[in-house]
Symmetry: C2
Subunit: 396 residues, 2 copies
């Protein structure tokens, strides 16, 4: 019989997807160039050329079985070796091949990490604002997601609320820095305070509390700054990476989990994940994609476009009087709406073909997200429209 | 805390994998050419050249965003259209794009199909001999797998036992034809009898019973025969396909579910599957792989190698007095062992560097599986060794 829970989910269609479909439909009416579609985190910048070259070369020269044959269930061994070596070199943590588990993007990484370190009924904490898909990611593991309210001053962590909510049933804490949707990078201080509390509570409760770190935006940082790497601050960390954003490969579904070498059961954690794969129907990312990203581990697409876009938008928002925290990375910005109801605000913007995502789905009220992984030309053309929208609707 | 259920699974390592690792280790000692490794279903024949050409061409000419951008969660629309059109043409069933859901191989297809049509606590029936991973695939949906004992006469279906076991709690029946491990193709008569019973029981119980058809070997049929297509016999069928075997692409993780247009909720079934993806962390197969297989939908690798291997092995087995059903397809054969305990039989074979998989994991006792997707040259060299093994151990 048809599963009624999954069927009933059809009603709860994602707001982002609905807006994005609206943008596409509107584009067919007036030309997509005239729709200022800030909805989707689909990178606009081309993949690093080395990736396509690697794919072409491998398909010309490698044997079919070496290129297209089954990967081991942990992922291609050379790819895992290369990832471990690169992380070790960059972050000074002694990763070995056995700590790397190749996945289908960050969604696959989180599906494995969450199941590996929680039992059904456990609580997973995350921090608002947060990527709304975490609800589904956590719910179907059998654990419960609870959301620490936002610190709207600077979108770092609300430490007081976190301490209150970090009860004994919490076995994993899920963070995302640089953050979708706020664009904020958690500071060294945030990382220290957060992990000090985790260490203390591990001792107090007598059980592991894992830090699951969702890091698809790790390489997209602005102002030449480094993103504090969560695994450096806490041993029980599972670092969930995706090449979707840094290499502009979201459709290829490629990422990994890096298990901290000092975490509990570090030596078997990746093998535990292969058991999880059997149950959820995941059997490695594409073999050829694994081999190709291995050759581009320390490359990125041209990220300067996102920084340029951010600066243009941020300056305009400030000029127009928006309350907004300057993003430290990603390709998102998260200003306060000009009225209490962000949905009403975004609906008014639609009349100007400005398509923003209201913050309600991210666990905060009264803000909106702009995803500026679009052409700079369109960003520039959207700014006078944004100004017109604000002046017409809010500064009459 | 580490999930204890998944951790405890580490003890139950797959027999096939253990044997395959033994083969690799032995190969390092005496040269892999001298190890007659019949363990793994990893195709030996090269991918159809058109596939590699399509990949190279696309990576040379397509825009990064069209090639590597996010697929819709149902899969690439052109790929789904092409699959629907091809199936419609070949099998005369009016599939449309909305009936096709792109997946990461058959494992991904089964993960979605099983969850879509069962509720936790339901029973799923399958038929021995069966692919042992079905245990894990079903268990983690929350449903229970029950196995109809084998019909060892011809490895068609044991109809009497099936009728007894098809109780009201059964909401899905999982079949695999051509069959791993027996190599047998279910006959027209089997398909008719099976589906007549399903139709009757649907009426009697007043609920849907879905037929989930695992079809990675659909295109590997011998003696110029066609494989009866399960969806032709029963409306409530979900056809789970993989390109792993037919195109020799197991590492690329590409397949689909084709929902029968006349099945219950056919119009929303694929959309229900997108909701399942959110929970299990599956977000489409690789975008470029989807686009490339679309250009090879009616091609296969050179399947004649498998038929040649089968004939060589089958004739030798018969000559040596084995009881064996002649495979109608796949690259497996499933002879009766020469002693009651198939594990003991396979252990003795190991001394001759003949590596077979005992049948116990496939839900039948006293048989063994040979996967002959290996070079014909090695098959030929293995035959005198097989003869020596049999004469030394069983015909002294």
């Amino acid at each position: 019989m048809i599963n009624q829970q999954y069927k009933s989910m059809l009603q709860g269609k994602s707001v982002i997807r609905t807006l994005s479909e609206f943008a596409t439909a509107r584009g067919q009416e007036i030309g997509y160039d005239n729709v200022y579609d800030y909805t989707l985190g689909n990178p606009s910048v081309a993949v690093a050329g080395e990736y396509d070259e690697a794919i072409i070369e491998m398909h010309k020269t490698m044997s079919s079985r070496d290129l297209h044959g089954y990967s081991p269930s942990l992922g291609n061994t050379s790819a895992r070796e290369a990832v471990a070596a690169s992380l070790k070199k960059r972050f000074g943590i002694p990763y070995e091949t056995k700590h790397i588990f190749m996945t289908s993007g960050a969604a696959g990484a989180l599906a494995h990490a969450l199941r590996a370190v929680t039992e059904p009924g456990d609580t997973v904490l995350t921090f608002a604002p947060y990527f709304s898909e975490y609800n589904e990611y956590v719910r179907w593991t059998g654990a419960n997601l609870r959301v620490v309210p936002a610190n709207t001053i600077d979108f770092q962590i609300n430490i007081d609320e976190f301490e209150k909510m970090l009860t004994k049933d919490v076995t994993a804490v899920l963070i995302n820095t640089p953050n979708n949707p706020s664009g904020v990078v958690y500071s060294e201080e945030t990382m220290r305070t957060l992990t000090d509390i985790l260490r203390e509570k591990q001792v107090e409760y007598g059980h592991d509390i894992f830090l699951i770190s969702d890091e698809p935006y790790r390489e997209i940082a602005f102002d030449g700054k480094n993103v504090p790497y969560p695994s450096k601050y806490y041993d029980n960390t599972l670092s969930c990476y995706s090449f979707s954003k840094s290499l502009s490969l979201p459709g290829e579904r490629i990422g990994y989990v890096a298990v901290h070498p000092n975490s509990t059961d570090a030596d078997v954690m990746a093998v535990i994940m292969t058991q999880i794969s059997r149950g959820i129907g995941h059997n490695c990312p594409s073999s050829s994609v694994q081999l190709a990203v291995m050759k581009c581990l320390e490359l990125t697409s041209d990220m300067s476009v996102y920084e340029k876009n951010m600066n243009l938008i941020y300056d305009k928002l400030v000029e127009l009087g928006f309350e907004v925290v300057r993003p430290g990375g990603t390709f998102y910005i998260f200003p306060k709406a000009l009225e209490e109801d962000a949905v009403a605000f975004c609906n008014k913007a639609l009349k100007y073909d400005l398509i923003f995502v209201p913050s309600d789905g991210f666990g905060v009220k009264g803000y909106f997200r702009m995803a500026y992984c679009i052409d700079t030309d369109k960003v520039i053309r959207s700014l006078p429209v944004l100004e017109k929208f604000v002046r017409n609707e809010y500064k009459k």
